[in-house]
Every structure is written in structure tokens, then in C-alpha cells.
Symmetry: C2
Subunit: 210 residues, 2 copies
Amino acid sequence: MKDKNISVAVIRRLPKYHRYLKEMLDNDIKRISSKELSKMIGFTASQIRQDLNNFGGFGQQGYGYNVEDLYNEIGKILGLTRQYNVVIVGAGNLGQALANYSSFDRLGFKLQAMFDVNPKVIGLKINNVEVMDMDKFEQFVDENNVEIVYICTSRDGAQEVADKIQKTKVRAIWNFAPVDLKLKSDIIVENIHLIDNLLTVSYFLKENLE
Amino acid sequence: MKDKNISVAVIRRLPKYHRYLKEMLDNDIKRISSKELSKMIGFTASQIRQDLNNFGGFGQQGYGYNVEDLYNEIGKILGLTRQYNVVIVGAGNLGQALANYSSFDRLGFKLQAMFDVNPKVIGLKINNVEVMDMDKFEQFVDENNVEIVYICTSRDGAQEVADKIQKTKVRAIWNFAPVDLKLKSDIIVENIHLIDNLLTVSYFLKENLE
DNA sequence: TAGATTGTTAATCGATTAACAATC
DNA sequence: TAGATTGTTAATCGATTAACAATC
């Protein structure tokens, strides 16, 4: 059932729909029209209907969309119907921050271990998860069916981690290091390039003044 | 000299150029053609030339681009010719992680203080920067010409911070809370919605299997 | 000069918006 | 039934790619 030709732009909007629908659900809103949703979320009503129709007719003419159903459907599309085993490489401040996010856990991203090369942090427990020696990385991820690795190392350490990952069954990387990883296999990579994002802030600040 | 109609898509590619040019500079590469750069960075040569020409003719026919010059020009465009005073609100794991990033400092983003409402962290020093009581936020940012605030609070605290910001001279927000801030004034907002990004990972993981 | 490569215009491609018939 | 709102096709808009004259 490979959804044919759904553009990345659409995919990247889905989590936002999911977030707003969750909020409505929490506020006991039962139904929503594309027009009302448009006002809240800031996409055009037309775009909303187009986006959702890529995946099926979730609405009903004259009525709109059932909030709970739509929330669940989008969750399914986003792959939230099962759990994912994850590990974090790099147990510095950022790695520890991610380890402590309960919302990831709640969505099904289950942290199994953390890894580092620094003897000072190896052995620590962060949010009940052990920091292990990087030597044990490859064996651990394969034995524990880890599918996603969050890379929270320095810029220079990241590619080494990526190289190790390529020898395992890990299928996706969430990369926080300010570098584009070179990968041969078809591993999924999502980058959070903080500096890139911060530089757009300074760009807009500068533009604002001129 | 308002650059007319530069699309956001172009702006968001600039930091990546900046990053790759820095790397070349560090490796003593003196010049680069759009064709060679294309191979490295993964944009088409045509797109690279189009992008750069939005801001001026930085290249030379038959030669290509001078790496150092181009790096400096893009730095200027991104507003890296001066310093920015910043504060962090929320001194939890993430706030502390950001406080410790030396690369932000190196680029000119100067951390002046951190703020929190939790008495347990108020008074701490993170990377030589004091965590202050949120009560002092408005006075501090205006007295210290703070232009950017990194919001690292919980989802629920973020809007309150945004409301306070609107009473100050702060001009930009870098928001890490999983919520879209409601702002009246023309404050610049860049969001790092971690969960949104993670959900695209699970989407692609799911797609990969089917 | 000949070769290389830019700057820039034109063509193509894809995404967003508008419009409206279908239908609840 | 009348009104509302979707699903979907067509029109528009904008971004990317191709092509090539200009020129170093």
C-alpha cells in the first residue's frame, strides 16, 4: 500500500495536524471543518482538504471531519501504531535532555540505552537508562532490535557513529550533529541542524532592520 | 537595501552553503565551481548559481567562486557581522545544553543570562552564566539589549514567556516548546519542533517497509 | 586564443489555491 | 429539502532546472 508520490511538503505538515487535533481532542471538540481548522493552523482550507485526501476521504460532506477519527488516522499514517526501540549516542547535555523527554516515550519511541566514549559518563543512569561504552554499540543494537539512533555527539564523532550504524540493522538516524552524514545504504536520516536554524533567525533580524 | 522577494526556501539553504564553505576554507580549498559544489552539497549547479545570484554576482566566469570571499559574503547576508545578545528561558536539560554550545557563542550569539521559575535552579551558574528568577526577565532583557530569546520551557510555559516578551524590546524567539506561539507584534519566530521532526522519521520508517 | 564557468533568461515541473459538482 | 462542506478537477503561482550568451 505504498502511498504513491506523496510529497515531502505534505508529510512535514502531518505532525502539525496531529498536534492540533490532539489539542482539540483534549478540549472535547468533536468535529472540525477544513475552514475552521484553517483558521487555527494557518494553512488554507483548500490545502488541508488536499493534504488529507492524499490518504483517503476522512471527511463527510456537509459535516466536516470527526476530530477523534482524524487524529487516529493521522497517527496511523505517521506510524504511531507501534513502538520503536531507540538508543542515544552521546550522553552530553543534549543527549541527556532527549533521554528525559517523556513525550517521545509516550508516542512509542522507547529508549533502550545510551552510549558514549567518555569514561566519566559510562555507567551513569539517565532517567533509568544506562550509559554504555560505545564498544558495545553494534552488538547491543542488533540484539535489542533498535531501529532508530539519535546522534548527539560532536560534529566530528557523528560520522564515525554513522559508519558503525551501517554495519547494523538500524534503519533510521535522527542527527543533531552539525554535519551531513555520508551513508551508502538506504538509512533514513532526519537532521536537526540547530546552527542552520539559528542563522535564519539572524538573517531575518538583519532584514527586519533594513 | 531590502532584498526583494528572496524566497524562504533560498534563505534556508544559505546556512548549508555557509557550513560547506567553512569546511573548504579549513581544508585550504581556494576556489570552487558551482559544478563541484553541487557534487558536495547535493543541490544542482543551476540552483546554486540562482541562489547566489539573488544577492549579487559573487563568481567569475571561467573561474568559479573564491571560497573565502563567498564564505564571507554569505556570512554577511546571514547577519554574522555583529553580535546578538541572547537569553535562555528554561534552565532544564535542553536549556543547559544550549547554554553550553560554544559554536553559538563563536558565531556571535552571546548568552547574557538564563531564566527559570524553579527555585532549585535559580542561582546556579551554567557555563558561567547565571540562572535568574523569571520575575527579573522583562527588566533584564530591556536593560541588556537582548534581541533573541531561546524558549526551552515546557509546552505550557512557552506562551506565558511569549506574552512577556511582547512587552519588551526583544525582536526574535527561537522556540523549542512543542506549541505554536500566538504573537501580535512582528516578532520573528523560528520553531524547533522536535516531535514533529521525529514523527516524520516514523512515517518514513513505516513507508520503507510497505 | 580556447576552454571553462558564470549570470541570466526561458522552459519545466510541482505545489498551492480556486472553483464547483457531489453529497451528507 | 436546504445548507454546509467535502472531494476533486482545473487554474495559478512559484520554485527548480535547462540552456546558452557573455566573459574571464
